[in-house]
């Protein structure tokens, strides 16, 4: 039960000779879309990107792009790159990375200019776009890192949603009682670990199918937090709901760095959770791919029998990794109630745990890839809410579909080769 296109090692060798036309076909279709939409249906006038905020130390002038001309340039570029991809596939059987990368960037920028040019106001504040996106991206990154830790060691984690929700609820409750946001943060991590403990105990000790456990845990946490929300958080003392007024985590701007336009407010004017996110992405990447610890985990996830043979305790490694993943996701859940919103509400994670799963897959089970995917999904999500106010040529609901559609394309092999660890979802029974 691995979670994607199964391409075993032996197959990967054969694959060099096999031409996959999926990518050239996809590029061709997108190029066609670019020609029709950007050129023929392109908006006239300019799309303005506001870069600096008022009061920034460095003022950068607004970037104004003539939408129609830009659309024509992007469309031509896309057609040329699609043709190049087709040619490369015919000659060599593979497409250079720069072709795919340039195509993707050109298409996304072209789409953005087209969307902004089509709104009534024809401008967008980049700072607002990115800082708003972080509200979605941050929990997504924590969720997908939880997934990375679990799935790299061979345990499918469908329960990310439940871990986030448990973290959000516990953070709010504990922070309200202790009036200390950091206590809430710690409690959220513990709550995430508890959900993870159930996942690990049932899927590793009792060898219950991991997907079943994950699905059921999501329902369990949703029901439990909903029930306790009604029973505890709605208790009023002197007309106020005292158990749902968490103390918030303060923003800790880094001097100087926080003054950089766009990047500063996005990355260097965050709460402790935001900085923790940056540290964890880099740390887990380094840990997984550059240390002995990471090698062991990946061995357990790819070939548990081999790992066992050389003396690694497979099930203990998995258990610990799942618990660590729970702590990470719990902290991500705390972001909801300690930073993003000022109180808990029922099912407030609203399916973000599943987008985190999507980011994990789209980021190819790599911490940095997952973080970038989470950023993309965050920007798309925030763009959707900005656009619903501005009036646009494209309906916001289609932007909302984007993460899910991209993930389906990724698992069916249209966008890169997204391959799960070989033993992902496989219980290991020694013997």
């Amino acid at each position: 039960m691995s979670v994607t296109a199964n391409i075993s090692p032996s197959k990967a060798v054969d694959r060099v000779a096999v031409r996959s036309w999926k990518l050239p076909i996809l590029f061709g279709l997108l190029a066609l879309f670019a020609v029709v939409v950007f050129v023929v249906l392109g908006p006239s006038g300019q799309a303005t990107f506001r870069i600096s905020q008022e009061g920034d130390a460095w003022q950068v002038p607004d970037l104004a792009v003539p939408a129609k001309v830009f659309g024509v340039v992007v469309a031509i570029l896309c057609v040329l790159l699609a043709a190049r991809a087709y040619q490369q596939m015919r000659n060599g059987g593979r497409i250079d990375n720069w072709v795919s990368m340039t195509f993707t960037v050109a298409f996304v920028v072209g789409l953005l200019v087209w969307i902004i040019g089509g709104t009534k106001t024809q401008n967008i504040t980049l700072v607002g776009l990115f800082t708003g996106a972080m509200l979605i991206t941050t929990p997504l990154v924590f969720g997908s890192l939880s997934g990375v830790l679990c799935e790299r060691s061979g345990v499918v984690n469908i329960a990310i949603e439940g871990q986030l929700l448990a973290g959000a609820f516990t953070a709010s409750l504990v922070s309200s009682i202790t009036h200390n946001a950091y206590a809430g943060l710690f409690a959220a991590a513990v709550a995430g670990v508890l959900v993870s403990f159930l996942l690990a105990a049932f899927s590793i000790k009792y060898v219950v199918n991991q997907i079943i456990v994950g699905v059921v845990l999501n329902v369990l946490v949703s029901g439990l937090t909903g029930f306790l929300f009604e029973k505890i958080m709605k208790i009023k003392v002197d007309g106020a709901t005292i158990y749902n007024q968490p103390a918030q985590l303060p923003d800790l701007p880094i001097p100087l760095l926080s003054q950089i336009p766009v990047i500063g407010p996005t990355l260097f004017r965050q709460s402790i959770i935001g900085y923790l996110m940056l540290v964890l992405v880099a740390g887990i990447w380094f840990g997984l791919f550059r240390t002995r610890w990471g090698l062991r985990i990946r061995a357990v996830g790819e070939h548990p029998k081999a790992a066992d043979t050389v003396g690694i305790n497979v099930n203990r490694t998995r258990f610990l990794n799942v618990l660590a993943g729970g702590a990470v996701a719990g902290v991500g859940g705390a972001y909801f109630t300690l930073v993003a919103v000022s109180s808990f509400s029922k099912d407030m994670t609203g399916g973000l745990g599943f987008i985190a799963l999507a980011a994990l897959i789209f980021g190819r089970w790599n911490p940095i890839g997952a973080a970038l995917a989470a950023l993309l999904f965050g920007v798309a999500g925030n763009l959707q809410s900005i656009l619903s106010l501005a009036g646009t040529p494209i309906d916001g609901q289609f932007l909302a579909m984007l993460p899910y559609a991209l993930t389906i394309l990724a698992v069916s092999g249209f966008v890169g080769k997204s391959r799960a660890p070989a033993a992902d979802g496989e219980p290991y029974i020694k013997g």
Binding site: L198, L220, G223, Q397, M401, Y404, G413
Partner: protein, 402 residues
Amino acid sequence: MSETQTVKEPTPPAKESQGSQVIREIMAGNAVISVLAVVVALVIGGILIAVTDPRVTAASGYFFADPAATLSAIWSSVSEAYGALWRGATYDPTARTWQGQLGIFETLTFATPLILSGLAVTLAFRAGLFNIGAQGQIILGASFAGAVGFGMHLPPAIHLLAVILAGAIGGAIWGGIAGFLKARTGAHEVIVTIMLNYIAISLVLYLLKNQLKDPNSTNPISPQMDGNAVFPLLLGPNFRVHAGLIVAILAVIGVAWLLNRSTLGFEYRAIGANPKAARTAGMLVSRGYITVMLISGALAGLAGVAQIAGTEKSLDSEIAGSIGFDAITVALLGRSKPWGTFFAALLFGAFKAGGTSMAVNADVSIDIVAVVQSLIVLFIAAPPLIRSIFRIKAARREGASA
């Protein structure tokens, strides 16, 4: 066809035996375990109800002075809640109207879409596929059924048949995508169906703002279904039980026949037990994946029809509620057997009907039902845990399977 299969699914044998072992594990458990799982889940739910009840908290303040007071507070708290649950789901002599007394018919109403969507999950599961996408398939089915139901005006009977057919097609399309991708690219159906659930929600929100919107309403809601396009009520206007229940029972019979008596069902079971062996025996595994997901999606689509043509009468984004996820638990509780699914759906329908009465009469949030349901499934899925709680000897069963 079979050649592409061997190329696309180089799954090591260990994986397949594992998948089939899961199916065997879930189907082999005996009824005692199921009953005990329900009991343990209810006990844990009862503990939750008791500790969050302010009367119990107050009495426990002087526990050592008067332990009986605490115990009686716990007893009254839990018995009131579960009593209200039971009466709401079956027969409530205290209700003010005689219609309100017969909660059993509400149970049947709630069970109808659960039976159909539970069958969808059951059928796919027997072919070795996890259909997590019943939610999306219900939404698509309801949207298609709605488009025919309020967009067209046909004679009686014909209109209802057209609505049922449209709903089945809508669900089949959504399920079929997952089956097709699984068969052709190896994309894992769990991921694809989860993603399709969310795409379905966005899609229906878009349609409710545009094509399917009621022009007379400012809300994202569709017009009412045509009078000819809805299921007739089985017991008159006082009860919500509708003819969708008959469709559901027919579907149970149909799926039971399909799985146990037909060639196609035999192929599905063979594929579910061991796709490699099935392929060696000359079965087209990829075709099996596609058709089983088409039928599974169609069944979930029918659950969407039961919602829109039976109880809701118009389309909104909440049409599927939590039915699609409950369906998974229903199928697991029913041990992936058609009649097992039927009775599991009745039980969960009773929980839903009783949960509402419990929330009103005992002030216990309906969320406790979700807790109990998920605990039931966890305990059923882990028979060793239940056996260790009750110290049941497992020697006989393990001896048989070894």
